[in-house]
Subunit: 205 residues, 2 copies
């Protein structure tokens, strides 16, 4: 059965998901016009293609910066993609800029791009602090491990850029940097990778 | 004997030295109107006050960035001074920007702010390379040390930002970053310190 899909529905789905027009149209048709089902379809496809994409080499990209208006704090970021064609698009450059705005605005700033980058030594040091605190608070031994693991996971997300909600919550509605990155990757069809960042605040060396 | 010092002479001396108007006028008067002697007087005074200044705390400053027009390379710098008043001046901000332009433009980029920051382990690794090379070239043992020390000093200056000539040689006429910094310190009467910098080039992590 052919389902009639209006241009307005396609546009609305695109606005909600950030997926490409063609994909939105196909998903709506497959979902029989139901936008919620269409989102589900897009998400599954998105994850499938993202998994393929994340292994691909990123040799192109941009370096972007943001200096807060007071001139006392700034950030530099490198965001990579696969082709110079994508690197030159407004969407890609805007993403790089928004990451720089986020990094500059965070206090304390993120320490690593992803939780995977946290050195084992730092993780262990943090673990010892939580263990000592849990013991001091008289927590029973059989729950200390679980408490400590929970605190450690929470801390790791706080210091990892990708797990942070974008500081401009009015614009990004609580989305994490990783979620915004994944949308851009889906839109461009390329692997998008935040390679590194720097954050300087005057006197905070 | 009172020497008549013209405003044009004061201006010319200021342009050559970057010293403050009042200091230029006083130096010209002391030098009996001879600009070369006046420069010598300014230099001596400048060095004396610079030595006093360099011990003073720098808690203010700015963070500045520069992204090359191609968007593939950028730099972030932190430059410190003593008061927010100086941090807000155009001269201070321009210096920070010019340092960022320099860092972004250098290929390879500087590795350290000053030679003092080079870790001993890295210096030793470099020394071993030069020693091996000198031996391979059959240099006599009694001169190897001198050759190696010379090469090491040259290398240290190449990787240290302050010792590099500003990349905009047309504008700075071969002056090093340190020389430009010292002029700004003399002009502002404050200790000026390049605290740190970052340099990103796409794909060069």
């Amino acid at each position: 059965m052919a389902v009639s899909v209006s241009a307005a529905d396609v546009k609305a789905l695109r606005d909600r998901t950030g997926a490409a027009m063609m994909d939105c149209k196909a998903a709506l048709a497959e979902a029989g016009g139901d936008p919620e089902k269409a989102i589900e379809i897009l998400r599954k496809k998105g994850q499938a293609s993202a998994a393929k994409r994340s292994g691909r080499a990123t040799a192109e990209g941009v370096v972007e910066s943001y200096i807060h208006a007071n001139g006392k704090v700034g950030a530099l970021v490198e965001v990579q993609c696969e082709t110079d064609f994508v690197a030159r698009t407004d969407d890609f450059r805007e993403f790089a800029r928004e990451v720089a705005i986020h990094v500059a605005g965070m206090n304390p700033p993120p320490q690593y791009v992803s939780v995977d980058e946290i050195p084992e030594s730092e993780r262990e040091a943090e673990r010892r602090i939580y263990e000592a605190k849990a013991k001091e608070e008289g927590k029973p031994d059989n729950v200390i491990d679980r408490i400590v693991e929970g605190q450690l996971a929470k801390w790791a997300k706080q210091v990892a850029l990708l797990d942070q909600e974008h500081i401009r919550s009015d614009r990004y509605d609580g989305k994490t940097i990783e979620e915004i990155r994944a949308e851009l990757a889906a839109n461009t069809g390329e692997n998008v990778r935040i390679a590194r960042f720097a954050h300087f605040r005057v006197g905070e060396e």
